[in-house]
Symmetry: C2
Subunit: 202 residues, 2 copies
């Protein structure tokens, strides 16, 4: 059992190494493999550094970065939940709450409380920082899908209406980023990279 404060902190650091083995549905742009949640977390954190000026409300970029660094850590226990998988999405909150208790609980209590609160704030989208972090977390897979010819969308039979429905919350964090994403999605349909919405029977 870890005893000192430093030992508890390092036990947490070593435990979250397993996030590197949690696979997401998106593919890397330059390689045929799927990305994992650790490298995704790095990527959206850098994105926050670079795109903070596009937030509609005032945000604290350092807090957005920190939030994105920890936003997927619960997946070490709970796994990645595909946003288009409605069954998995329904059980997600309970699975992730248990994971948060165990994983952040490896840390000294003050830090466990701080990081769990930051994760919950992200999940609830109840602050400007969380809404902007959420926008980046949604925008990234759209960029990856477009850059890989819609590979993940096609594999899961995702149509444009669902992409729009799932990602329009980008607008809650940044009108400019949602406008950009919306145009990307339109162009993806025009280019045959993303299937259009199925026709409604008359």
């Amino acid at each position: 059992m870890p005893r000192t404060r430093l030992e508890r902190q390092l036990a947490f650091v070593l435990e979250i190494d397993r996030l590197k083995e949690v696979l997401r549905r998106t593919y890397l742009t330059g390689s045929p493999r799927r990305e994992n949640s650790a490298e995704h977390s790095w990527h959206v954190a850098v994105m926050a550094v670079v795109l903070a000026e596009h937030a509609d409300e005032p945000v604290d970029p350092a807090r957005v970065v920190k939030m994105l660094l920890v936003h997927d850590i619960v997946e070490v226990d709970a796994g990645d939940t595909y946003v288009y998988d409605e069954t998995a999405v329904a059980t997600r909150a309970a699975r992730e709450e248990r994971a948060a208790a165990r994983l952040f609980g490896l840390l000294p209590p003050d830090q466990a409380g701080e990081l769990a609160a930051l994760w919950r704030e992200f999940e609830a989208r109840g602050s400007a920082d969380a809404r902007f972090a959420g926008a980046l977390d949604r925008l990234m897979p759209v960029l990856h899908n477009v850059a890989t010819g819609g590979r993940s969308w096609r594999e899961h039979g995702i149509t444009a209406d669902r992409v729009v429905a799932r990602n329009r919350t980008i607008a809650d964090g940044s009108a400019a980023l949602w406008e950009y994403a919306r145009r990307l999605i339109e162009r993806a349909v025009a280019d045959g990279v993303l299937a259009p919405a199925p026709e409604t029977p008359k």
Copy 2:
């Protein structure tokens, strides 16, 4: 050619996706594969969030995090340089300067300048933030090696004297972390996980 500010920023974000394909010498703790520089960057950034209190000089944790998020981006072009490979270490600075000019140069000029300066500060270890970031970047592979039974050390025939020589700069950022690492290294030798220094011929 990207034109708007947002387009330049997103061109940079997509380009650095390739850091996920740059392999380091260290292995994951729970899987037989080597880790890549993107997931490593996430891991040390989280480490900075959790361990900032162990810095000997006052540091700005948010700046240390940002520095660690960008510290390996040059490897997209320059590749990872193994710290124990003296030939590669000798040519590293020039290769990485070219890479920094191209990669950060994808960004709007103000951001290119800021991130390149932050990367140079990290490389030079000329500030308290950089010395602490450097300490974390060195400590992490020691933790990974110990957690994997010294796998990477053994594969490259690294002995304890070289591990101490390469990592004692951890003490420039944190006496507590170096003390911890030093004890880990001693125990690794005692446990047969790390080969002792070769005997000097009389």
